[in-house]
């Protein structure tokens, strides 16, 4: 079996080498890829969309429809992890609690779990050491991470960045809280329900802007249609439309990151985990 695999790999490799023979040479300015569609985008991006970062203009405007479905792919991934991993069953073993004032750990039988109180906090069965410094540093760091994430989303017009990258950083800030504290703290800040609704809201913003363009009398995702409600000219409307969809992308990516992390690290129970 291994030999067959090797033969196939060598054969496909040889075919790949054979096919490169007719490729345009490396970095050739006259190659078809650099003179046809790409050249048009490079030349027209700024006059047509007023977005200095051509990558963003292609990604979110010329081929914005693809990006909407890429965001949907992320949404599907989040939903897929949810349906495959999530277990709606309570853990049926014992729990551990810490007395906040003294730091004493208590082992409590499963049928004697007390009501919520401010004097005891639940800790994970796989006990993680209580570390004041790590906890507080991460807590203080989180808002700065989030601020940077917003910058990355908003600055996609001018520099590398945008909704996907910014969304991941936003999600990372919440995951940081979950890692440094525990999953229940993170879920207390942003619950599973909120995460799932945000997941849908983000892509809904993207596709909703597209549908709004139809309602305003132009084609799907033709941001120029928004000029009337944004009180700008058509080119500036394109730039603002791109910003709108980037925000949608950011929200979905953030929520999906959090959801996948929560489901994976808690084996789908969403109560204990790193």
């Amino acid at each position: 079996m291994k030999a067959i695999g090797l033969i196939i790999v060598v054969l496909v490799g040889a075919l790949l080498l054979y096919s490169t023979e007719d490729f345009p040479s490396w970095g050739d300015p006259a190659s078809p890829a650099s003179v046809h569609v790409a050249a048009h985008h490079l030349k027209k991006a700024i006059p047509e969309t007023s977005v200095p970062n051509v990558v963003t203009a292609v990604l979110a405007d010329y081929r914005g429809y693809d990006t909407m479905f890429e965001t949907s792919v992320i949404f599907c991934a989040g939903l897929g992890c949810f349906v495959l991993l999530r277990l709606f069953k309570k853990r049926d073993d014992d729990s551990y609690y810490r007395h906040v004032a003294t730091g004493i750990t208590l082992h409590i039988k499963k049928d004697k779990i007390p009501d919520a109180s401010s004097e005891f906090e639940r800790i994970d069965t796989l006990w993680t050491p209580y570390d004041l410094i790590v906890k507080n540093v991460c807590r203080i760091l989180a808002p700065f991470v989030q601020l940077f994430a917003l910058y990355v989303i908003a600055h996609g017009h001018h520099s590398p960045g945008g909704g996907f990258q910014g969304g991941v950083i936003l999600g990372a800030s919440v995951i940081l809280i979950a890692i440094s504290h525990d999953m229940r703290t993170a879920l207390g800040r942003i619950s599973e329900k909120t995460v799932h609704i945000l997941m849908a809201v983000g892509v809904l913003i993207y596709s909703g802007i597209g549908a709004l363009c139809i309602l305003m009398g132009r084609n799907f995702l033709d941001y120029a249609a928004l000029s009337r409600i944004l009180f700008t000219d058509k080119i500036e409307a394109r730039s603002l439309g791109i910003f709108g969809v980037e925000v949608g992308v950011g929200i979905t990516v953030m929520a999906v990151m959090i959801s996948i992390y929560n489901n994976l690290s808690s084996e789908g129970r969403q109560d204990e985990g790193l």
Binding site: S34, R63, C76, L79, G80, L84, H196, A200, F220
Partner: protein
């Protein structure tokens, strides 16, 4: 409004999918009606679009308002118009028919299930409607990812089969993407029509030949063309009922459409049949696929797995027809996409209806079912007759075109394989019918479910099932109209002589 049809077919279910997924956390009972609304609107617009395309010719749509090669464009002619219509209508019927099985099999995740259901249909319609090679890949990703998740929701070994499917499916997607990458390097464009005009001077180039081979390999994996079918029986057999009867009839047919689109519109008939001369070897492969699928189906003890191997065999029909390289063969292949989707759905719905009552589809559990579930089994017989190819049903007509195409091309092995598989299908289905007609339910049912509990499925399952099985005959009777108005214009335009 009229000119927005192509985009509405794709984006309305998309919008509804997100709304359903959010609503699931607020009010669960709204999920199903919202899904029905999204799916119904999509099906309605796709029928309107087919009417529009059939009367006024191909329709184009510019997304984002950008002119064709610069932005993404949709292009609908009668070929994809009719496949879109059949996909959305069948998905709608399946949605209605399987409501109770979804509640039975995935009770606490119905919201997510319906959201994935809609997104899967979005993926398929997006693949069908698009005129852009890369957009096709993105939608292929949407359809694949959602089908992995839907299949993984099943019981038992379903997650394992989904993982297996994921590995092979991703490989298929990568091959297709690599092919598109080659095309982009050589032409600098992703628009199908634009690429088609830029390609002819490059036909002798090795890179273009490789691009074609990669696209074909990717699509063949995705459509489970023998011997690349290994993922299919487990994935479709272990999926939840509603997901199985959605994905099995539609996904492979859509991939056959992609193959035909690549052959006819992008690479052109000249390149495929005259320059590469790939027709005869591929017809041989298809004959092999037909025979192998039929033989494997004979070995199955489970009804659903038997149906899965029949799909493998049917893929061989369509591949063979497409590669025959003549008018009748191509017409038969396109017609068979249309017919096979309907008859596979009919059989899978019957299997789902039986499973809903018996909780198992092993052959011995089918004993005495004709008395317990007469309507379901009558519809099963209709579907079976169509797969075998008995005249008034639609399966006969596409098989007729395929056989006459095979004779015209002198491919007697393909004709022999078709006749062989028809005979095997007859044996397969009459075995099932014999067991369920003559077997005595009470005495032979060794498994836990008591005989008294098994009765006819609820009307919400039977009515869609009856509609589909009458559809088999109606479509069969209208074959002439479908071929003359929808298929022939495409086949003749591609360069096959009448």
């Amino acid at each position: 409004m009229n000119h927005h049809y192509p985009v509405l077919i794709v984006t309305l279910p998309l919008l509804f999918a997100f709304v359903v997924s959010g609503t699931a956390w607020v009010k669960k009972s709204l999920c199903f009606p919202l899904t029905v609304a999204g799916m119904g609107l999509s099906a309605w617009f796709s029928i309107c679009l087919l009417g529009q395309v059939a009367t006024t010719g191909p329709v184009e749509y510019r997304l984002g308002g950008w002119a064709m090669p610069w932005g993404i464009g949709y292009r609908v002619d009668t070929l994809n118009g009719m496949v879109i219509a059949v996909v959305t209508v069948l998905a709608f019927i399946n949605l209605i028919a399987t409501r109770k099985t979804v509640v039975q099999e995935t009770p606490d995740k119905t919201g997510a299930f319906y959201s994935l259901y809609l997104l899967f249909v979005v993926g398929l319609t997006g693949i069908l409607v698009t005129g852009d090679l890369f957009n096709l890949y993105v939608l292929l990703e949407v359809a694949s990812l959602t089908s992995y998740a839907l299949i993984g929701m099943g019981n038992g070994r379903a997650p394992m089969s989904a993982l297996n499917y994921l590995f092979l499916g991703t490989l298929g997607g990568c091959f297709y993407l690599l092919g598109v990458g080659y095309l982009y390097i050589m032409t600098g464009s992703l628009n199908m029509a634009d690429v088609a005009t830029l390609l002819p001077p490059l036909f002798k180039s090795s890179a273009i030949v490789m691009a074609f081979i990669f696209c074909m390999a990717g699509v063949s994996i995705k459509m489970a063309f023998f011997p690349l079918h290994m993922w299919l029986p487990n994935a479709y057999g272990n999926a939840p009922t509603a997901a199985g009867s959605l994905i099995a009839p539609l996904m492979t047919k859509v991939m056959v459409y992609v193959l035909i689109r690549l052959m006819l519109t992008i690479f052109s008939v000249d390149f495929v049949f005259v320059i590469l001369k790939m027709g005869p070897p591929m017809v041989w492969m298809s004959s092999l696929a037909i025979a192998a699928g039929a033989v494997f189906a004979l070995a199955q003890k489970n009804l659903k797995r038997m149906l899965c191997y029949i799909i493998v065999s049917e893929i061989g029909y369509m591949m063979g027809g497409a590669w025959l390289g003549n008018n009748a063969g191509m017409t038969g292949a396109v017609l068979h996409i249309f017919n096979d989707a309907i008859m596979t759905l009919c059989l899978f719905l019957c299997a789902g209806s039986i499973y809903y009552r018996t909780q198992g589809l092993e052959m011995e559990r089918l004993k005495g079912l004709f008395r317990k579930m007469p309507v379901t089994m009558a519809c099963f017989v209709a579907g079976a007759l169509s797969i075998i190819g008995v005249p008034p049903t639609c399966g006969f007509f596409s098989k007729w075109y395929l056989i006459s195409g095979g004779l015209a091309a002198g491919q007697y092995a393909f004709v022999a394989a078709l006749i062989f598989s028809s005979l095997v299908n007859a044996i397969l289905f009459f075995r099932v019918i014999e067991i369920s007609y003559y077997g005595d339910f009470e005495t032979h049912n060794a498994h836990g479910s008591s005989g008294a509990a098994v009765m006819e499925s609820p009307a919400s399952m039977l009515v869609p099932l009856i509609i589909v099985s009458t559809g088999l005959v109606v479509v069969g009777l209208y074959t002439g109209g479908i071929v003359n108005h929808l298929i022939h214009p495409i086949v003749l335009k591609a360069g096959f002589s009448g």
